[in-house]
Amino acid sequence: MPGIYVAGVGCTRFGRLEAPLLALLAEAAQQALTDAGIEEPDLIVVGTMNPEEFTGDGTLAPLFASFLGRAHTPAFRVETGTSSGAAAFFAAASAIAGGFARTALVVAGEKMTGLATPRVAEILSRMIDPTERRYGATMPALAAIVTRAYARAHHLDPEDLALIPVKNHRNGARNPLAHFQAEITVEDVLGSRLIADPLRLYEVCPISDGAAATVLTAERRPVRVAGMGQGSDHVALRHRRSLTSFRATQEAARRAYAMAGLGPKAIQVAEVHDAFTPFELINMEDLGLAEAGKAVRALLNGETALEGRLPVNPSGGLKARGHPVGASGLAQIVEIVWQLRGQAGSRQVRESRVGLAQSIGGLSSVNWVTILARD
């Protein structure tokens, strides 16, 4: 298979933003095209979850291509819920690997803060199995059920789990693009209100606006797409094999490692999907970065901190960088590129050659793992 390289990256500030969705997408896209030194990509792939509901925009790919002044460039949109950004990256990389395009612009974003929180929650809850939704199950409710089962299985205290948002806010405080750039304490986490017992406000990602972009090329560049994989599972929680791990991540990781010809030991920096912060530990275990039940040790020992052996979520993660749902999967990849290139500023981890991004769609029904390497 021909090589797939990341030629350029871009990302807007995340948070509650004034700019409309198309302008956010264009800002990220222009940055990535400039960074790549490529003016006319062969293909544009857009990743968003639900612009129809969030902003009233439809048929987004040609709409965006026209907005960018590229009305005649082939363009399409990819959607896999909250992992749409990673899915768009996969689609564009596949087109390059298959020889359908030499260069591709991938752009992903979401504009969510225009709607009231209950309305946003209702839109997000459509990723839940219809039967389970009849019980009033929301994303935080199902995540809380998973969190309680995981914490019980591995004897974790709320104080242990509170260290995850504390770490990720510490990283976010060093990221000028993050939605939250203030550090928090364990007391702040444990004192925040219960959303879905045992999950508290500071363990749940915010509602954000933002966009990210990458430019891919078949020509040799320093950062290479080493591996990609997708894994799927039942949407319904009741049909899942396990409540303390996500099969969709495990299978996505298996495929990505096989393509890369690498194992988890090769990973030096990772961005994982911490929309509900306890998931960071589950994700590390599903990715093979820690044994089942042992991820908490890496956290307690500081191994996953910026200065640690395996920094996890140096960007601040979805918790602190923010979670414009369609954008997040691609923003993770952008962060890994910056870390591998040594361009991550005050949150730069020690020199790394291999990094991984993991993105969750729905409550882990359509997940992606992407491995990048610097040659």
């Binding site: 019980y135 929301t138 879905a196 929680l237």
Partner: protein, 150 residues
């Protein structure tokens, strides 16, 4: 889309059990479903004893429109491994534990779980013990009959 179960009377399900579906591949689901979630095959109607245990639960403090807070929701596993979401009763929240035995009731197609009193748990224990004894006796009887065959 899965068919919503009717009330137990409408579904013709005996008291103390809930309607379910069984596939030839061995998968059992509740609420009933026309197609197997594992293999896609057709499913036949079945019933399951309406007793299970709490696998995990949450008390939702920001429920969606149409639901009152606090909203207890549990993932319950019946004897035999069938799992489904259930609503709890807000006044029993203090008694929720992972692994706790609960009784299930279907009302208008929605499952509710109740923590069982000590008396109910003893009654269940005796019933199960009775079933177990009956099984042992029948096995012994068949062994005895086989041993007497020429």
């Amino acid at each position: 889309m899965e068919e919503a179960p009717k009330t137990q009377e409408e579904a013709g399900t005996p008291a103390g059990s809930i309607p379910a579906s069984r596939c030839a591949c061995g998968t059992v689901t509740a609420p009933p479903a026309p197609h197997c979630p594992e293999c896609g095959g057709p499913m036949a109607p079945d019933t399951l004893p309406a007793v299970g245990e709490i696998l995990s639960y949450t008390i939702l403090h920001s429920p969606p429109a149409g639901f009152a807070a606090p909203l207890p929701i549990a993932l319950v596993e019946l004897v035999g491994g069938v799992k489904f979401l259930c609503h709890g009763h807000a006044e029993q929240v203090g008694r929720y534990r992972i692994g706790r035995q609960v009784a299930i009731e279907a009302v208008d197609g929605i499952y509710y779980f109740s923590t069982m009193t000590l008396r109910e748990r003893i009654a269940l224990f005796w019933r199960r013990r009775g079933e177990a004894e009956e099984k042992v006796r029948s096995v012994l009887r068949s062994v005895f009959r086989r041993s007497r065959r020429p």
